[in-house]
């Protein structure tokens, strides 16, 4: 499972960076979305994938039976997903406003503040 996930994550990162390097601001935001998803999957995978072993302690016992999945990275990923959602919602509104004001979706036309 892990090699497959690693490949998928690598592909996601590559696609995201390719999209971010395009001139269109819509593609830029799509790139950002893919990038944050790639990071979330990466956390999930590096913490180790355990199949069918929820971190639950059976009733009346003080510790779980055998090895269980690590719950911490799942909590971390959940937090990261929520944060990414909020930030990307802002980014989408931002590109819409930018498009309305600048009247172009081309990053090369947004150079007024560079020099």
């Amino acid at each position: 499972m892990e090699p497959l996930m690693a490949l998928a994550i690598g592909l996601l990162y590559a696609t995201a960076i390719f999209m971010m390097l395009r001139r269109s601001i819509v593609k830029l935001v799509i790139g950002l979305m893919l990038l944050s998803n790639a990071a979330n999957l990466l956390i999930f995978t590096t913490a180790g994938m355990t199949r069918g072993a929820p971190p639950l302690i059976p009733e009346g016992m003080m510790q779980p039976l055998g090895d269980v999945a690590d719950p911490l990275p799942q909590a971390v990923v959940l937090t990261a997903i929520v944060i990414a959602f909020g930030v990307l919602a802002f980014a989408v509104v931002l590109i819409r406003r930018a498009y309305e004001i600048v009247k172009a979706d081309d990053l090369d036309k947004m150079k007024d503040t560079d020099t």
Binding site: L42, I101, D112
Partner: protein, 533 residues
Amino acid sequence: MRPEVALPVLLPLLSGAISLMFWRSRPMQRFIAVAGNVVLFVVSLWLFVAVLEDGYITIQMGSWPAPFGITLVADMLSAVMILLTGIIGLAMGIYSLATTGRGHEKFGYYPLMHLLLAGVAGAFLTGDIFNLYVWFEVMLVASFALLTLGGERAQMEGAIKYVTLNLLASVIFLTAVGLLYGTVGSLNMADIALRMDEAEHSGMVEVLAVMFMVAFGIKAAAFPLFFWLPASYHTPPVAVSALFAGLLTKVGVYSLFRVFTLIFDQTMGYLQDIMLWGAVLTMVTGVLGAAAQYEFRRILSFHIVSQIGYMILGLALYTPLAIAGGVFAIMHNIIVKTNLFLISRITHRLQGTYQLKKMGGLYRERPWLAVAFFISAFSLAGIPPLSGFFAKFVLVRAGFEAKAYVATGIALAVGLMTLYSMVKIWNEVFWKALPEENQVPETPTPTGDDGRLLKPSLWMMYLPVVVLAMMSLLIGVFAEPIMLVMNQIGDQLMTPSGYIEAVLGASASAEAALLDPIEIQAERVDDRLEETP
């Protein structure tokens, strides 16, 4: 239970929440902006005094024991940064009353300011690396909204670059946190430091160190990752620029200091040269960029970049004295740079432009404003007896002691270039006569950032400027007691065992023995990672 550690984070959150409840009431929001920030300042002072007595103060959130729950840690560095946050927050609370347009106030300027301060304070105090990421995001989201309030064309263009590059940095940071957790199996920074010392040094640790360096380097605007800063910092209202200039990049620098003295202290030998030359190039490009500019705020923006170089130089030299100098530079820069932005807004109000060519004659017109600018600008350039001189003096001395002659020499030359930029502003804005074609009317109409009329309330703009200028002067005069505090920071950062003990309890190794199940888990994860081709 030490409430003073949690209060600097909770209070601005509370002020922001109360401020949101009075969404429609402008006077109430303005009142909370000042009152909330006064309380924040008092609490930050309390924390500083408490840390001065005790050295380290920790508090476990939700009473979960150290490596499992989130820990808030205040060491001397955190306390100083929180104190500066309190000072700048108070100054901006008062200054914003005079300059913020009604349109901005209506769309939540004050709640956002409080939330930004909460994010900054949280980042300074947290002892958990994922929590640091969360506070970074709190701060970023607030700063995104503040940056785009008003929605002018330049703001939009600046914001797209700012948002993209900061989000990219956040993702790199998050990726690094994920890989770090996969490598050592902990998120508590003290615990990570402990496990890092035990773990054998594989290539993974170096990769992680570089990822953290890049992520925080983007946030701190270090060379070659600084391009978002001069493209965006001059676009929002000046009160926002000043707040960003004072605090946001410094959070990135603070994180570099924290992570590279605590977690990657062993990897430092490998990265030291990269960081050193990165710092030197940051200084040089920043100051050269400023030399080409003739817009007041853009010159200041490029100088932020240049000054970041000095701070990172302190870290890169990696001796207690150099770290002390780097933190001194952070402290001096937060006060002085904020003040210069505030002054630029006053000159704009008096003469209606930020273009140096069109300004002039302010020395004759407003001699005291000229004095305040003189103190701040020449402090930035490092003229004794102002605060910048001592920051630079300590850094240069540490540089010579570490035998980094070339880097230190360049740092001195950059000081000269900074002086050139500041003298340029002084000549154009204050000294030369006002150009004929730009004679402003006798009583210029004061307008807010959205172009509407404001009541004359110049004293509210002058008050923070005068106080901050005085502080720069006083830091210079009382450099010795401040240097004692800085030396303590240098010693604390260079001996991370104190921090680890403060977080994990005196018998950190005994605690580690209790963690066996998790360690086994971590080892298992390690094995799996090795199995993965």
